[in-house]
Amino acid sequence: MVSQFVQLSVIGLANGAIFALAALGFALIYKSTGVINFAQGDFLSVGAYALYAGVATFGLHWSLGMLLAIAVAVVLALLVERLLLRPMIGESSIAVIMVTIGLSSMLQAVLLMLFGNAPRRMPRILPGGSIDLLGATIPVNRLVAIAIAAVVLGLFTVFFQRSRWGVAMRAVADDQPAALTMGISVPRVFAMAWALAGVSAVVGGLLVAELVGVSGTVAEFGLIVFPVVILGGLDSIKGTMVGGAVIGLLVQYTAGYVGGGLQQVIPFVVLVLILLVRPYGLFGEVRIERV
């Protein structure tokens, strides 16, 4: 009993780590630029495939493979921002959403062209093996995945609280005209948000490649981003962590204790409930109203 619970918890948190990293990129872009990016899952795919290409195809050391993947994702993110979304500034949000949906299909198609349909075997990067925890056999790479996500999310949090650019990005999210009068370059902040989202997608891609495998289904993580960010609050980093963990655990517990495919639906049940009860999520910014 206990061992099953521990196992489900660890696997749930490890999946939650992927959700959280995917959601982080989404929240970064939404918060800074107001764009709802439906292509976030595909960025995760790009990260995973770029890493696969570096490590498996070119035979690079995993650290170089990571750098390559980060470079690819950041360049792609910057191009997307500059060429597709900056011209859309001021257009209606539906139009912008359509652009990101189109982008999603395009990225999928390009990946399909380059890598085909068959799932790829990724050489192991994280340590393998398993350990015994309270009677449960826990794969070490799941634990490492959780740790990686925690560290990355922690770094992002510190960046936004302490660094000059982090504060500037939050300032732009808060009040763009005022940020302009401070000499903060809004286009550069937008570019930075996309670049950081690219970085988080690569880390997420690493975990996906490791835990799930590299295939066309990676992009499906893009869909689960929505329950995660709606639960956590669309614009909150803390929210992506908690949202990712909660959804990850919920899916595993449902699969383990209820079963019957309900685990596939449960995140979206949460999504609907949250929208009904608390539309700004657990940690989303509530509009400050002074009386």
Binding site: R164, A171, D174
Partner: protein, 286 residues
């Protein structure tokens, strides 16, 4: 500043008196500025004015005269509102900032405190100031210490979200945040808006102190003409997108037209409102 002939002629044409008797040239010189919104709405039609170094200059005028537009033109914010400078020049010292972007203008030394305060509501007081010092990262800590000296109330609230400050504190934060860029020209758009009279006095006293202690030149846009002329050295009065009257603050405060229209003091007792309206409609400067 007499470096270019068009500068001089444009200024004279608009009837502005030149005021560079011996001192250095003006810090800010606007010549014949024309601003159009949405490609059709002409808001500034040949505005010319100067702000001399070290002075407090008040820019007065009724609603819709184009005061805020003038501020936005100086700070490069027009493109964010589909506005565009179609003619004329703006110089900050010798730098042409007519078409510069906001960041360049802040770095050149002109900072704006926007109308309605516009603090970053979800950022703490401290973070607001950090954002204000974005262009001068090396001096951020010193700058924050200095702002807290002028506004001790802000230091007590340093870790609070700015959205929860009172209106007066928000205005102080907005001014402090602008000071973080260490501007030579501080522009304030309606700093008294929505504040209690006592707070307005406090804010104006601080503006005077900043001008005196730091030597910051101040361009003050106000509806509250009496108070603005009280602390100003020079004044300009705008109507329909151009300057219609200018002079020293004392001269303006004595001018019978200004008294009637902006200071609410009619010469010959109280007339009926209807007469005033008719009279106003008939009588326009220009």
């Amino acid at each position: 500043m007499t470096d270019s002939a068009p500068t001089a002629t444009a200024t004279t044409a608009a009837g502005a008196t030149r005021d560079d008797a011996g001192g250095p040239g003006p810090l800010l010189a606007i010549n014949n500025l024309e601003v159009i919104y949405d490609e059709v709405i002409l808001v500034l039609r040949g505005l010319s004015m100067e702000v001399a170094t070290g002075q407090i200059v008040a820019l007065l005028g009724s609603n819709g005269a184009g005061k805020s537009t003038t501020m936005k033109a100086i700070t490069g914010l027009l493109p964010t509102e589909h506005g565009e400078t179609t003619d004329g020049t703006i110089h900050l010292r010798d730098t042409d900032i007519t078409h510069a972007d906001p960041a360049q203008i802040v770095r050149a030394g002109a900072s704006l405190v926007m109308e309605g305060r516009h603090v970053f509501e979800h950022l703490t007081v401290h973070e607001n100031l950090v954002a204000g010092g974005f262009t001068r990262p090396a001096e951020t800590d010193d700058g924050i210490a200095e702002v807290y000296e002028y506004f001790p109330a802000l230091e007590q609230r340093r870790d609070q979200a700015a959205g929860y400050l009172s209106g007066g504190e928000q205005q102080m934060l907005a001014i402090g945040r602008a000071l973080m860029a260490s501007p030579t020209l501080l522009m304030l758009d309606e700093p008294s808006l929505g504040l209690a009279p006592m707070l307005v006095e406090e804010i104006f006293a601080i503006i005077q102190r900043l001008n005196r202690d730091l030597g910051t030149t101040v361009l003050l846009v106000e509806q509250n003409a009496r108070q603005a002329l009280d602390i100003a050295d020079q004044g300009y009065i705008m109507e329909s997108g151009r300057i219609v009257l200018d002079g020293s603050a004392a001269e303006l405060a004595d001018n019978p037209d200004v008294k009637e229209f902006y200071l609410g003091m009619a010469e010959a007792g109280r007339k009926s409102y209807r007469d005033v309206k008719h009279y106003k409609r008939r009588k326009r400067w220009l």
